[in-house]
């Protein structure tokens, strides 16, 4: 299931400069694993050692913060847009 991932400037070194990439996965967690396969190094920027999303990283599915959905278990469907927002202010809630 292809989805679109919006990549913030500091992570574009993993995507050859692309601000928007394709990914697949039934959940946000599966998508992160999929991204890691093609963009090695990106997972540890997004998740900590325990596999949880790092505190200052905000992941949005179609504009909704996954903290208020089902976190990494949030389901994805074709055509969803996922944004990785570097929370310079600790992020918007």
């Amino acid at each position: 299931m292809p989805v679109t991932v919006k990549v913030p400037t500091p992570l574009r070194k993993f995507t050859a400069g692309s601000e928007s990439i394709e990914g697949t996965g039934g959940t946000v967690g599966a998508l992160v694993e999929d991204l890691e396969e093609r963009h090695a190094g990106i997972r540890e920027r997004i998740c900590d050692d325990q596999g949880k999303v790092r505190r200052f990283v905000n992941l949005y599915v179609n504009g909704e913060d996954i903290r208020f959905l089902q976190q990494l278990d949030t389901q994805l469907k074709d055509g969803d847009e996922i944004s990785i927002v570097p929370a310079i202010a600790g992020g918007r809630r």
Partner: protein, 304 residues
């Protein structure tokens, strides 16, 4: 404005050698709530002196928050409209405070961070160049000058000349450049250090990872005696400790500065280390910084 308290930290420092003291300049006591009041005032004054800022002009700048609040406050007090380009992911409180002062917040792409705000601001000005006065905190020498003239002398007086190390986080680098210059003139042995995020992808509002950023024109790395990389997680954890162990509710850049100051302090035997806490933490309660406080829960069990 300025003349903020210098507080000796006594909780988070308890494992340090007895003759090593760490002091924090509490910049949250400025009227706009942050260290940015100092450069904002100086840049306004300079604009008025040179005539670049005059009636009919609108003040504009890119800012991740505190400079915007300072400029908005100054514009309101002196009667100039203020427009601010802030990344869409700056905290909600920041935009609300800016708008409470009557300034207009222009959002830039949150994916592009503070560099995106800098670029967006340039575009807005290019479309209407005669309309705006841009204080330009990243390139305006009045920014470090404000610290050379006020923060530096205050620290020198408050420590009675005993300061051995000065450490501040770098965003525009104005604080560390200007304060450092003054202190080194007073005593060339003073070590001037900067704390910076350990990676370009970070959550330390107001701070910049220099190697991957648009480098501020006022920044001169050669004047620094060293840089201390700080992870976002260590900075946040220090914010929580400062709340629990010092009674200080501060923002994440203060946590980062404190963590870096303690790293330096651990290696020394005799030192008076001064750092800057740029603001208090109440502006971040709507952010993920608060999520960490929530997870910690109360320090003493209810009814205990």
């Amino acid at each position: 404005m300025g003349r903020t308290p210098l507080l000796r930290l006594t909780g988070v420092t308890r494992d340090l050698p007895p003759d090593v003291r760490v002091w924090a300049k509490l910049e949250g006591f400025n009227p706009g709530g942050s260290v940015k009041d100092r450069p904002a005032l100086r840049m306004f004054q300079q604009g008025l002196e040179t005539g670049e800022l005059r009636q009919g002009k609108t003040v504009i700048d890119s800012t991740s928050g505190n400079t915007g609040i300072a400029l908005a406050m100054m514009g309101s007090a002196l009667g100039y409209p203020v427009h601010l380009v802030i990344p869409g992911n700056a905290s909600l409180e920041r935009r609300q405070i800016i708008e409470a002062y009557g300034a207009i917040a222009i959002e830039s792409d949150p994916l592009e961070g503070s560099d995106g705000a800098i670029r967006h601001c340039r575009e807005v000005i290019a479309a209407n160049p005669d309309r705006y006065f841009k204080p330009d905190q990243y390139f305006n020498p009045a920014n470090p000058l404000a610290h050379y003239e006020t923060t530096g002398p205050e620290i020198w007086q408050q420590t009675e000349g005993k300061v051995t190390h000065f450490l501040a986080g770098i965003g525009t680098s104005g604080t560390v450049m200007g304060t450092g210059r003054f202190l080194k003139e007073k005593n060339p042995a003073v070590q001037v250090l900067a704390a910076e995020p350990d990676d370009s992808f970070h959550g330390l509002e107001g701070l910049k990872h220099m190697a991957s950023s648009i480098v501020p024109g006022i920044y001169n790395e050669l004047e620094l005696d060293g840089k201390v990389p700080v992870s976002t997680e260590d900075a946040y954890d220090m914010v929580y400790r400062l709340g629990r162990e010092e009674g200080l509710l501060v923002g994440q850049s203060s946590g980062g500065a404190c963590w870096a100051a303690l790293e330096i302090a651990k290696r020394l035997e005799h030192a008076d280390i001064v750092t800057v806490f740029p603001d208090f933490g109440d502006k971040y309660l709507s952010t993920t910084l608060w999520a960490g406080w929530e997870e910690l829960g109360p320090a003493v069990p209810a009814g205990g």
